[in-house]
Amino acid sequence: MEFLLVQALSGLASAASLFLVASGLSIIFGVMRIVNFAHGAFYMLGAYVAFTLTDRFAGPLGFWGGILVACLVVAAVGALMEMLLLRRIYHAPELFQLLATFGVTLMVEDIVVLIWGAEDLMGPRAPGFTGAVTVFGRLVPSYDFLLIALGPIVLGLLWLLFHGTRWGVLVRAATQDRDMVASLGVNQKWLFTSVFALGVFLAALGGALQIPRTTVSHAMDLSIIVEVFVVVVIGGLGSVTGAFVAAILVSELNAFGILVLPKISMVMVFLVMAVVLVVRPWGLFGKPEGTPRAAAGLSIRPWRPMSALERMGVAVAILVAASLPVFAGNYALSVGTEILVFVLFAASLHFLMTVGGLASFGHAAYFGLGAYGAAFMVKFLGAPMELALLVGPLLGLAGAVLFGWFCVRLSGVYFAMLTLAFAQIAWSVAFQWVEVTGGDNGMLGIWPSKWASSPQGFFWLTLAIVVIGVGVLRMLVFSPFGYGLRAARDSTLRSEAIGIDRKSTQWAAFIVAGTFAGIAGALFAFLKGSVFPENLAIPTSVDGLVMVLLGGIETVSGAVIGAIVYKALAIWLMSKTELSKLVLGGVIVVLVVAFPKGIVGFLEDLRHRRRRPPAPDGAGPEAAGYVAKVEAAE
């Protein structure tokens, strides 16, 4: 009994930081409708800057002053990011904002290593709170009690701020209607910047307050951001109270989950989240979103099947690819095979994201599951490659069946965050279940059958499977099922009104996408001869997103082009620089801001413009219709 109480106290202490970070994320989302992926990075920066300051200035004043200054510094960095980056993309689809802030996260990870080194750092203890208090004969750090008290205090202060000051009233008003706030004479640009700075301040405070408890490391951003996503999804995006309750819930689940399922304690938390989402899709304290924004992938230029000329072009391209082994060396062939694998992966994500309008931030889960499925077949059942390639992807399919059922209940950012969370479950299982998966050491010795073991042979095998896979996906796009899927994406209202079951249709698309990702994953396992938890980690998911985005999100064929260009670029960059994350993050940010339609989208725009000059100004029937529509919608 005593032990349980102490465990509960430790959970409450962990909840404080989680609440601080989650409330910041929630406030930012509430007003700006942006899910700030970089929130974990600001949490980490808070910890690092506080480490430096408290290390330099000793004593109580140095410590507490250092923490405060650290938070202010990081908040200023956040404000700068809002002004330089986010202001340019407020009107972009949610996906682009998530990606841009993810790009910033990547950059910060490398910058942190550049400044503070890759080693974990031990911060000072908090002056005045270095001892421990005996509770039922067990020692509880006194600092924990400070943190436990801090949570409700911050919650109360935030409530006062939002209900007792004019700034708070303005923020609450802007949460509902930004344009109206501007129409009442409020400079909403600065309102946004200040809200963002407050949110980042809270994240940095969460990080800075962790330094007496844990080491400071350059991986703390991703570990917290996933937990924070879980917290805000359970609590409800935009609700500070929800973040508070959910932070306690999640921390206690973690504290006790370790006792019940020591290996996979995260799973408990995700199970609770899944239940909450099924019962209340917008979280415990959240409100249903009013009008959802247009889904990703919505183009007003209808897609057409390929013309005879285009089909011939594709056939020539495949022939050229098939002749690669004749003149390319082994290294080039293995690069080529890897690119092909990612073409299939990107095409599967494209199907879900562009055709289905469901931007998944955890598509690597199904890629990785397919890879592990193949590895299990080889390692545990001694299956040959042929069988493993057939059965392995079924694990991806099974994962998609299970996770997809929950995910399609949501849409927009909630969907993105839930897919990310599920991918993290899959990752933590692969990482922690060492007996089965080998944990961090991965599983080695997954080699192809003899006939396909040469680089040439495996290249041809991969080419054949990928061509068939992409072909099947493309056929699905133009099939009745693909049209039903697009209908559900274009207008939920209309599709339900003509008998389309949106959830089932999208679930099926999720399963299709997961299965093809699984096929790509199984191929990848045999290409590398091994599988690792990285195969289902966040960076792999984001690689897929960037490929689709780079190719052009509104196009049918963009994913293929995007995958080729991006993978080739990434492999080349990795060989050139140590700071691959910095470069990659920078590329993502530039891409989102300057090139939102992607390569194929850009080319199509050019072609379209040349074919049809823009309609001359005038009160044509179109224009008249448009006025009416706009005015009716206002």
């Binding site: 919505l298 183009s299 007003i300 230029r301 209808p302 897609w303 099947p305 056929m475 699905l476 133009f478 099939s479 009745p480 099922f481 693909g482 049209y483 039903g484 697009r486 209908a487 994406r489 274009d490 207008s491 209202l493 209309r494 599709s495 339900e496 009104a497 003509i498 008998g499 389309i500 079951d501 249709t505 099926a508 029937p621 179109e622 008249a624 219709g625 448009y626 009416a628 529509k629 005015e631 009716a632 919608a633």
Partner: protein, 260 residues
């Protein structure tokens, strides 16, 4: 013979506020019924309950004698209820014809087919529906660039794809030019009478209402305050006081018998 649509004691409240209460009416096949009333009187709530988007707190909605309360919109549609929206809801990423084809594929239970080109499915039927609303010439155009009046007509074609017995039209002429309004409602009336479809529509334009409706219901604060022929409703002193006013908001030819 029982009515096509029989509504009894329909009620809905939000957080203690009654949006709709005790609404009862009947609609026969081939007739056109208008639902009018001030903004916020509960017309949209009423409509959304009829097609299953909102679940009523109480009441019964019978389509050809069968209860449809509690069914989701897609199931209500399968029973033969077509719907158009106040702000058009179409599929902007598709062509005009494809919009109708999707509805037809759904009607013929073929949306789960994973092979075959959907753009080639049910073309003659789609073109026939488009011709019915006068949109055949625009079949290949992207839906996203249509003029507003054309979008409304396309919506009508989509709503007709399941051979509906009942058509629900929420402000069918809102945002259209006067001539377009008259044309669209004439077309709707013609189709409804030819095919024996019951039509229920909400509308703010009294010219449209008085010209085309066989009967008019007036909703105020969630309750029906009058039901009858356009003539009866127009003369009803309560309706005049609450909604029609002094008759300055509609054409003089519809005003005979009124005080103004």
């Amino acid at each position: 013979m029982s009515a096509l649509l029989q509504v009894e004691g329909l009620a809905k409240s939000y957080g203690g506020v009654h949006a709709v209460r005790g609404v009862s009416f009947a609609l026969d096949a081939g007739t056109i019924l208008a639902l009018i009333g001030p903004n916020g009187a509960g017309k949209s709530t009423c409509f959304n309950m009829l097609n299953g988007q909102i679940r009523p707190n109480a009441g019964s909605i019978k389509l050809e004698g069968q209860e449809i309360v509690g069914l989701p919109p897609r199931a209500v549609w399968r029973r033969g209820v077509g719907r158009t929206f106040q702000i058009t809801a179409t599929f902007p990423s598709m062509t005009v014809r494809e919009n109708v084809q999707v509805a037809l594929l759904s009607f013929h239970h073929k949306l789960w087919a994973m092979v075959g080109y959907a753009g080639a499915a049910h073309r003659p039927e789609a073109d026939r529906l488009l011709a019915l609303v006068g949109m055949e010439a625009q079949a290949e155009r992207p839906c996203g660039e249509l003029a507003y009046g054309d979008l409304k007509r396309l919506e009508l074609a989509i709503a007709l794809a399941n051979n509906p017995k009942l058509l629900l039209m929420d402000e069918p002429t809102a945002g259209m030019a006067p001539k377009e309004r008259v044309d669209l409602m004439r077309l709707t009336a013609k189709i409804a009478r030819e095919k024996g479809i019951g039509v229920l529509f909400t509308e703010h334009d009294m010219d449209v209402v008085f010209e085309h409706a066989d009967a008019v219901m007036v909703l105020n604060r969630g309750e029906l305050i009058a039901t009858g022929t356009p003539e009866q409703v127009r003369r009803d002193p309560q309706v005049r006081a609450i909604y029609l006013g002094e008759g300055l908001l509609y054409d003089a030819k519809h005003r005979e018998g009124s005080a103004a």
